[in-house]
């Protein structure tokens, strides 16, 4: 190969050399640029420090000036509100107090970072739009509510954005003769001062409500004791109001192609009732996004006619519409249009009214001041039907208005249009967002606009930066008005796999981690592990159950459902599949909830296969053909249980249940489905039995969604079709009963019904298994979660020093 020119042999070497030189030059240049950047950064930091010093000198000077000093916000923040306008809805103004129990961080030292992990990025940082459980906790720390439950005592309300509040109830009764003035005078004359004081009544006047003369009763607290007295003394002279709740399907079109809107549904109802010959005085219908409330004034004959008319309408074959359905080729699907949910009767329409007095020293993270206008704007935004915040709007659908009082930007009033026992907690936990930052012209801008990639709140944590798929970093809000957290920085790393998260935690890269029962079991007594980490085990706020779909004839008989519960060994499930990190559960109320029926444990169904077999035999289920499976009228006892896939605990649980049922002659086919497929089956009521859990809220639960007979349709939550007249009545009564003790008494009976009916086989309440780096102090967990804002690290052990 001598004939080859020399050049070609050398060329690659030359090229390689040139490339190496170029690379070196690039690296060196880059390095120089980097040094310059570092110097600039240092200078910037020094300058900021100087600025801060100058600023603090300036403000100090301002404070020393004796006259003409502008009022500093902090001093006015706690000024007690005075209303000379004769506002009878203020009742007793409560100045908010922090819960006196010590937080345990009195000796805390500030500093260090808290590094945690999440499996996925949030979809957006807009607190009204995003609901993903993985990161939603961070929104709570970036935004503040008006008031909040004390960590140490859930009954205690602590002031946040509001420093004081007043509760009241305003009632409107319509006299039959239309002479409100006379009736008001008569009531005033009949009820003496002592009675009024007992009932906490402030004023009784004649007023104009919705264009009709009415007697207006203002009560200084959310106290409905007046009901009985009014009924006894003046019931005969006042119209009873009958409220008919009619839900409608959607979104979609009527059969004639017109779109379904609340207005159209209300019109349709009125037309149909008129056509059916129902006469009577109606108040204007109340239109919500999923239901219309018809309000009838008057006699029982009309009431029965309306109820019969609505029932006929619900049952009629024309009760169909075309709803939008992604999964059908035409994009629409036929479904039922109207549902008559329930009827309520009122002597007077009762409106709970809550007035909040806001702090004047609160600033949004971008430095703009916070005021009640933001709260009003937030309410209007939630109610804007074009905004994609469905779950939140659902909570506030009975909230009639949020408005400023006397145009004072620091006094906000929440008025609910009907009595609801959760009205107070939902008003107090209202989270305003910044109008200045989030305001929108077009809903698309708010729903999906680029602003949602950033976050402007008013809470203790402020967004530093968010790098998608990598990390979400919050820094402490140094201008926070309340108790600042002790960590300087909170980092959420996005790590997709739970297993990798655990490795990172054990390596010391993450500061805390929620363990699975199997992971906890092998580590709880491991000295190497316990030497580095502390463990906190507390009871979680949820329960798991197997739901029996009563549409399936197998589960129609309550004796059968009881027998199925008798076959489930909950003690063993807790001990074996949950490794001891669970507590058996027997009802729908969490054991730590004040409404819990204390004797439930004593009356709970035990694990007793013999009794179950006997009960099944009595119900007619016997193995007549000798194939080992029970049968009745030729139908074998065979069904499928759907569970969520990829959770080893559930799979073990399902096979344990399957085995136990098999011994009693019941054949179970376990079906593993991924979460969204499982939800679709449940939403469309297409299942025999399902293993699921409920995550509970921080306050008292409203059983309506889970157990009321009106909630049995597609995409509603009573998917097991539990229908019980007495239970319905209790649920309806409880929702409007504002006295907690009376409510608990009613709920006790409700729990007895559930226990007897066994619509679910309740399984267990899980425990929250938290392991955390042992440099962190004061870690406490309670039902509602952890007190991470009060955690701290001694200076000597701090990992990240800035």
């Amino acid at each position: 190969m001598r004939d080859r020119p020399l050049f070609l042999d050398v060329a690659p070497l030359v090229l390689l050399f040139v490339a190496a030189v170029l690379l070196a030059i690039i690296v060196i240049e880059n390095e120089r640029g980097w040094r310059v950047m570092q110097e600039i950064k240092k200078e910037q930091a020094a300058l900021t420090e100087q600025n801060r010093a100058i600023l603090s000198k300036l403000t100090d000077g301002l404070k020393l000036q004796p006259s003409g000093t502008p009022e500093t916000p902090r001093e006015t923040a706690h000024e007690t509100p005075e209303f000379k306008t004769g506002d009878d809805l203020l009742g007793e103004v409560t100045e908010g107090q922090r819960c006196p129990e010590p937080n345990g961080d009195e000796k805390a030292e500030d500093g260090d970072w808290l590094v945690t992990a999440a499996q996925e990025d949030p979809k957006s940082l807009n607190a009204l739009i995003e609901h993903a459980a993985d990161v939603s906790g961070l929104f709570y720390s970036a935004h503040d509510s008006l008031c909040g439950r004390a960590f140490k005592d859930l009954k205690w309300w602590e002031p946040h954005l509001a420093h004081a509040w007043a509760k009241a109830l305003v009632c409107f009764a319509y006299p039959k003769d239309g002479n409100a003035k006379a009736l008001a005078d008569e009531i005033n004359a009949k009820w003496d001062a002592a009675l009024k004081k007992k009932l906490q009544i402030r004023t009784i006047t004649a007023a104009d409500a919705e264009g009709r003369p009415a007697v207006r009763i203002a009560i200084a607290d959310v106290n409905n004791d007046y009901r009985e007295v009014l009924k006894k003394d003046f019931g005969a002279r006042i119209f009873t109001q009958w409220w008919f709740y009619v839900s409608f399907n959607g979104p979609g079109d009527f059969m004639d192609g017109k779109t379904i809107t609340p207005d159209a549904v209300a019109e349709l109802l009125e037309a149909k009732l008129a056509a059916a010959g129902v006469k009577g005085q109606f108040l204007a219908p109340v239109k919500g996004s999923q239901r219309v409330v018809l309000r009838l004034l008057g006699d029982e004959k009309n009431r029965d006619a309306v109820a019969a008319g609505l029932k006929a309408l619900e049952a009629s074959p024309d009760n169909t519409c075309k709803v939008i359905d992604d999964k059908s080729a035409s994009g629409k699907r036929e479904d039922r249009l109207l549902g008559f949910e329930q009827m309520e009767d009122y002597l007077a329409q009762e409106k709970p009214v809550f007035t909040f007095f806001l702090r004047k020293d609160v600033k949004w993270h971008d430095g703009k001041p916070f005021s009640g206008k933001d709260a009003v704007w937030t309410y209007n935004t939630i109610m804007d039907p074009r905004i994609l915040c469905g779950p939140m709007r659902n909570y506030y659908q009975d909230l009639e208005s949020v408005a400023l009082v006397n145009d004072d930007p620091y006094t906000v009033r929440f008025t609910w249009f009907k009595p609801y026992f959760r009205a107070w907690s939902q008003s107090a936990e209202f989270v305003p967002i910044s109008e200045a930052y989030y305001h929108y012209d077009d809903p698309k801008e708010f729903n999906t606009g680029p602003k949602n990639m950033n976050l402007v709140g008013d809470g203790a944590w402020q967004l530093d930066h968010w790098e998608r798929q990598k990390e979400l970093v919050f820094v402490r809000n140094e201008n926070y008005y309340g108790a600042k957290p002790h960590f300087k920085r909170q980092v959420v790393q996005i790590i997709k796999e739970r297993q990798v998260q655990l490795q990172a935690f054990e390596e010391g890269k993450l500061d805390y981690y929620n363990l699975l029962p199997s992971q906890m079991k092998s580590r709880e007594n491991d000295e190497a592990f316990r030497g580095k980490f502390n463990v906190n085990i507390s009871i979680a706020n949820n329960y798991r159950y197997i739901g029996w779909n009563e549409r399936n004839p197998l589960f129609k008989d309550k004796a059968v459902r009881q027998a199925l519960t008798l076959l489930v060994d909950r003690e063993r499930i807790c001990k074996e599949t949950m490794r001891g990190y669970a507590v058996p559960q027997h009802g729908t109320v969490h054991p730590d909830n004040p409404a819990y029926w204390k004797d439930l444990d004593k009356h709970a169904w035990p694990f007793d296969p013999e009794r179950a077999k006997k009960q099944l035999a009595e119900a007619g289920w016997k193995d007549t053909d000798g194939d080992g499976v029970l049968d009745k009228d030729g139908v074998p006892f065979r069904f499928s249980l759907i569970i969520r896939t990829a959770v080893p605990e559930f799979e073990a649980l399902a096979s344990m249940v399957k085995e136990s049922f098999a011994k009693a002659g019941i054949e179970v086919k376990v079906n593993n489905l991924d979460w969204s497929a499982l939800l679709e089956k449940v939403n469309h009521l297409n299942f025999d039995a399902v293993l699921l859990g409920w995550q509970l809220g921080s306050g008292e639960e409203d059983p309506y969604q889970l157990w009321h007979s009106s909630q049995i349709h597609e995409k509603e939550h009573n998917f097991c079709r539990f229908v019980n007249k007495e239970a319905d009545q209790i649920i309806e009564d409880c929702r409007r009963e504002l006295n907690p003790d009376k409510r608990y008494a009613k709920l006790q009976r409700f729990q007895q019904i559930i226990l007897n009916e066994q619509p679910y086989t309740f399984l267990f309440v899980e425990k929250r298994l938290v392991a955390y780096d042992n440099r962190i102090q004061n870690v406490q967990y309670r039902l509602i979660g952890g007190n991470s804002d009060r955690w701290w690290v001694p200076v000597a052990r701090q990992k990240h020093k800035e």
Partner: protein, 410 residues
């Protein structure tokens, strides 16, 4: 030859249409819910008519399936959205104002922009906000609208729409974020695979049936049969057990704060993050590719011309590296075409274990969240690449082996 390539290229659009139509139907109709479908989580309220209108604008919810597909392709064009009209009109007016020398005209255009700004709050209609403008702007509005260039929507015009799961981002944006990462990772893997597999194959062939070959074969078969996600988890476990100085990072592409490191340290930091994923992504391919190489080499070594070369007294090295190697590379070279799609597609499991925000993780999340626009974009790109890859390897056969011809008379 040209006719052959043209024929292949002309067939592609039809094949693509078929592939996308079938995948679109399967993805949209698959069980499970997406953000566009109410009830995605248990607490969701049903969508209101207004929300549906918003969703109809972006995802055509509630339309028949075939229309949705046509919208997606771009054969049907949706009505522009009010805010879009306004923005286009505003920017067009601003453009005209900047270009005009006439101060009266300039003032008029600025006033028009302000009128548009003022009118925004009351704009209720989703399609045409211009009607809500004061009468005196009507003429100017018409004039400007005529000049506005309405962008074409749909895949035909390289617009993949909005992501369903993160509606604030367009699909193209998400793809562009993920693509460079996967590309970097896979190009490195590509080099690692070829540099490791070729020598291993040569050794195997040269030492055919001797102890070295047998050990190598065993080792490669063991490697080939280890599932990569399991190896990945084992490697991570190993890292945790190692002393701190020897650990390699296993989360993401860079640690936080890496931006502030000096250049060399920065590069080293990036390299460290790449080591574990590259190992996991490449070892299986190394094992299989070296087998191909070994077989190819064995075929050639037994050929007559090699015996001739040996006979004429060529040194063994020349025989192997010059005569045998070149000829045995043919199957290996043609495999490059098949690697093209995997370069872009990324690995689902490895990327999610190492939290690498590449194309694989993107597809995985899209599957979990039923993000059909992102999935469809991935499938379309994948389909195009597979088709191009097959074409490339066919052409490579042609290029490296003159004995093969696809056309009569060639």
């Amino acid at each position: 030859m040209t006719t052959y390539i043209l024929k292949r290229l002309l067939l592609m659009p039809f094949m693509l249409l078929g592939i996308t139509l079938i995948s679109f139907c399967i993805i949209v109709l698959a069980p499970g819910t997406s953000a566009t479908n109410a009830g995605a989580d248990m607490n969701a309220e049903r969508l209101s008519q207004e929300q549906v209108q918003v969703l109809q604008q972006t995802f055509h919810v509630g339309e028949p399936l075939h229309l949705r597909y046509l919208y997606w392709v771009g054969l049907l064009q949706p009505q522009p959205y009010a805010i879009e009209w306004r923005d286009w009109c505003k920017s067009k007016a601003r453009e005209l104002a900047d270009a005009s020398d006439d101060p009266a005209r300039h003032a008029e255009l600025i006033a028009y922009i302000q009128a548009l700004n003022a009118q925004q709050r009351s704009a209720k209609d989703f399609h045409d906000p211009g009607d809500a403008l004061p009468e005196k702007w009507a003429a100017l509005d018409r004039e400007i609208r005529a000049q506005v260039h309405v962008p074409w929507r749909g895949v035909l015009f390289f617009d993949f729409g909005q992501s369903v799961a993160t509606p604030s981002l367009s699909v193209s944006q998400r793809l562009l974020d993920a693509l460079p990462i996967t590309l970097l990772l896979n190009v490195i893997c590509f080099f690692v695979i070829y540099t490791a597999a070729i020598p291993l194959g040569i050794v195997g062939a040269v030492k055919h049936n001797r102890l070295t070959d047998r050990c190598l074969t065993l080792a490669l078969f063991v490697l080939y049969s280890l599932p990569s996600f399991w190896v990945a988890l084992l490697l991570i476990k190993l890292m945790v057990d190692l002393p701190e100085d020897y650990r390699l990072p296993y989360v993401g592409m860079l640690s936080s704060g890496a931006e502030d490191l000096p250049t060399l340290a920065y590069l080293w930091e990036g390299t460290k993050h790449l080591i574990l994923p590259v190992i996991c992504l490449s070892y299986v391919s190394v094992a299989s590719l070296s087998r191909y190489m070994r077989v190819g080499m064995l075929d050639v070594i037994r050929a007559d011309f090699i015996r001739t070369a040996r006979a004429k007294g060529c040194p063994e090295n020349t025989v192997i590296y010059k005569h045998a190697l070149r000829n045995s590379l043919i199957p290996i070279v043609t495999l490059i075409g098949g690697l093209l799609p995997s370069l872009i597609g990324g690995s689902l499991l490895i990327e999610s274990i190492f939290s690498i925000p590449g194309m694989g993780l993107l597809s995985y999340q899209a599957v979990l969240t039923h993000d059909y626009t992102v999935l469809m974009a991935n499938i379309t790109i994948g389909a195009v690449l597979v088709m191009l890859g097959i074409l490339t390897s066919d052409l490579l056969y042609l290029a490296v082996d003159p004995r093969i011809a696809f056309e009569k008379g060639a």
